[in-house]
Amino acid sequence: MTDTALHPGSAFVGHEDHHHAHHDADHKPGFFARWFLSTNHKDIGTLYLIFAIVAGIIGGAISGLMRAELREPGIQYLGIWAGMLHGGAQSLDQSLHLWNVLITAHGLIMVFFMVMPAMIGGFGNWFVPIMIGAPDMAFPRMNNVSFWLLIPAFTLLLASPFFGSGAGVGWTAYAPLSTFGEPGPSVDMAILSLHLAGASSILGAINFITTIFNMRAPGMTLHKMPLFVWSVLVTAFLLLLSLPVLAAAITMLLTDRNFGTTFFDPAGGGDPILYQHLFWFFGHPEVYIMILPGFGIVSQIIATFSRKPVFGYLGMAYAMVAIGVVGFVVWAHHMFATGLSVNTKMYFTAATMIIAVPTGIKIFSWIATMWGGSMSFKTPMVWAIGFIFMFTVGGVTGVVLANGGIDDYMQDTYYVVAHFHYVLVAGSLFALFAGFYYWSPKWTGHMYNETMGKAHFWLSLITFNVTFFPMHFLGLAGMPRRYADYSAQFTDFNMIATIGAFGFGLSQVFFLFGVIIPTIRGGKKAEAKPWDGAEGLEWTVPSPAPFHTFETPPQFK
């Protein structure tokens, strides 16, 4: 059965007004106005991507410190680092506290300042308006506000260790460790950082929802939108509905810390578990916020390089909707050890497992898209295929962890660490890499080097698995997470993981200097449509995309 109508963009005619190239420079404001007062979705997308790369380097460097410390049992470097940070010799407790500061910073940076800005702010800003044939986002100036809120947010977080001892409460910031457990300005700064980052994301979500609902080119119905746009739409709803709950929870933390309220303090009738419910009501949708745009990116790439429309387009779109909806009612599976009642645990076990069904639909649909296709294995495609398999591995350990009874063993062990790094690194990050290779011709106007891209893939794939696969074994052996030091029984796999982590880090250095920078600075000139199987409006505009696109909307025939 054929259905070209479900082939987004295939019916569009390239509509780029060619006179544009001549006047392009005329429309561009000066440097300061262009980059600091931008209302252009592509420039803001570029800013987001650069921001995410910088944050990723910082967050990755922190994980390098962590793996160095965990290379062998004992406290190796924490005392030295604590001395460098705060000056002079530091006590054991201060060194150990620095460990908690590192894990907190790594988590918050990677979630709020790397994956989210890159996926939604970067690729979303760059390609959603182009893919739906809109001239820009619905609220261009608010778009700029969204980005610039991230700068003070990130600054607050990075500065927090220098005003006090650092926020060592974990990215989850559980009360009461985050209330009376850690006095001083550091945790307050981290909380305010999250407030700003959250406000940024809420504004961005409003912008995307409005843009996608109101600014699609004539004839592009919701059911003809590219899957990446679908994924950003679902993600934007998740952001809009979940982030206010986080804002409320961390505001209550702030008042508990500073103004004597007792929302989470049993001494005043409060409840520490209430904080966990509020946090995970945000936190679980958050993990889908980080993966859904990745699903969208991978769907585009698989279809392009299979030279075939996405198999089961409607099923793919509504699987994402289903994941988003069910994602809101499974939060307490993060709290299986907190003393939930048996009925609660049974419900959250069952509800969590249900998410495997739409996820399975997506995996099988990607394979079916390739089935019967005419596949070529350019770098974006190998990343996308790597994503599918690695995400499957991370997904099935999620099915294990969904069982409330099994979690009496697994909760807070390295098994969980392995699980969420398989879905967030080999999931979200691999999807980001795939998206970079796929769209960098449009972004930079240059083709990346295919050999370097493939080398980056294989290096990353191997070192990633060397790093994180042994963590399953550590978890099965019972090693708790967030430990600065471990007994000798956990040595072997930790050492392997550290070796892998340094390999993975070097692979990303290779990516930065061997791929990103050379591609931005030069390389083979990219055609408007560098992939012969690609469909969609972003390939109807020149590479790099001109400053303004679609001043008159393209027509859908």
Binding site: T2, D265, M353, A356, V357, G360, I361, I363, F490
Partner: protein
């Protein structure tokens, strides 16, 4: 009904805590003062632990002998294969509780084969399409983008698999939530930054403070350092908890400061210790031995340094240890597991009596704030999750 059971059980536990030193299991048991002198005749086990009740972690008393018995626990040797992790071993720790064995089977016999099969299926499919439908082999792509039958199949297939997983999973949860029967040994674990205190409210209010043992090069002169007989580095504690094998244990956790989590992998056990709450679960240890666990909820700087060590011994040895600690076995002069009702003996006379006793002390089960504030109680946390208390005092 289970909810009421749980409430009663908590009430019973609280009643015990409130009495703090009054041993009782049935109203007929004669009360024994908490300050009763340790029975010197007890099995020759030296009592060096003073079981302080203050919030500060005390320095460990100087050892009198390098033997394990220095903390009052019966001497034992560590089985390197059970109760602690093994370097390089792939797989779960061996289980010594019924629920643990069930869960262990469910992981190794159900979940692991299923997830391995799914991964292999996806890998094989990917490899096949990448080979068969590469451009050289299939230059003209098909235009197929729908097949309702296969879409229904790959929706229903996972549903069936998940239902098959859910059946043992729900069974496991039911087993884990079976309330402890009357007469179970109650152990109350209280998390502190960064050590555990334990109470045996049914056994004359024994209190144990368990600190991690430091290494030889870290201790101050006279302080006890870890030896290999104590257990591995970061897992060994100065005062182990002793529990009887074959007897249901009711574990109650709470905290004096931030959230901690009491976890023993070999028991398939993890329960958060939350200030202002009493969490409860139960388990029965099937095999004597030494079992190690670690705090499993981020609780501040020394999160990694508050291990848990449980020594499981035959009931008679447990009774001797209780006596050596100055406690008293409830309701019997000759403690033995034979007087302890087996799991599932709901509504037994002993349980009813215990519940009555608890109510007599605390009032109705839904108003449990009183015992938590009792001056005789050593616990810092309030007993009532919903009520005001004196957490973190």
């Amino acid at each position: 009904m289970p909810k009421r059971m749980k409430a009663l059980a908590i009430a019973a536990g609280l009643g015990c805590a409130a009495l703090s030193g009054v041993a009782f299991a049935t109203p007929a048991a004669p009360p024994a003062p908490a300050a009763a002198a340790p029975q010197a005749a007890a099995e020759g086990a030296g009592v060096s632990n003073t079981a302080p009740t203050s919030a500060a972690a005390p320095a460990t008393a100087a050892p009198t002998s390098p033997m394990l018995a220095q903390d009052g626990a019966p001497a034992t040797t560590i089985d390197p294969n059970v109760g602690l992790p093994i370097d390089g071993r792939i797989g779960l720790q061996p289980q010594v509780t019924k629920n643990g064995e069930f869960a262990h089977w469910m992981h190794n016999g159900v979940l692991l084969p299923v997830i391995t099969a799914i991964c292999i299926l996806v890998l094989v499919l990917l490899a096949w399409v990448a080979f068969r439908y590469r451009r050289a082999a299939n230059p003209v792509p098909s235009k197929t983008s729908h097949n309702t039958l296969i879409e229904v199949l790959w929706t229903l297939g996972p549903v069936v698999v998940l239902v098959l997983i859910a059946i043992p999973s729900i069974g496991l949860l039911q087993a884990q939530f079976k309330p402890a029967p009357a007469g179970a040994v109650t152990l109350k674990a209280i998390g502190n930054q960064w050590y555990w205190t334990y109470q045996y409210p049914d056994h004359g209010g024994i209190e144990i403070t368990a600190n991690m043992l430091k290494e030889k090069d870290q201790v101050s002169p006279g302080e006890r350092a870890r030896t290999d007989a104590d257990g591995p580095r970061l897992l060994a504690v100065d005062n182990r908890i002793v529990l009887p094998v074959g007897v249901p244990i009711r574990l109650i956790t709470t905290s004096n400061d931030v959230i901690h989590s009491w976890a023993i992998p070999a028991f398939w056990m993890k329960l958060d210790a939350v200030p202002g709450r009493l969490n409860e679960t139960s388990f029965t240890i099937d095999k004597p031995g030494l079992y190690f666990g670690q705090c499993s909820e981020l609780c501040g700087a020394r999160h990694a340094f508050m291990p848990i060590a449980v020594q499981a011994v035959p009931p008679a040895q447990f009774a001797a240890w209780v006596a050596a600690k100055g406690g008293k076995m409830p309701g019997s002069a000759a403690p033995s597991s034979s007087v302890i009702p087996q799991p599932g003996a709901e509504g037994s006379a002993v349980e009813a009596a215990q519940a009555n006793a608890a109510e007599a002390v605390t009032g109705p089960a839904d108003n449990m704030a009183t015992p938590a504030q009792s001056p005789t109680s050593a616990q810092g946390a309030t007993g009532n999750p919903a009520g005001p208390g004196n957490a973190g005092q």
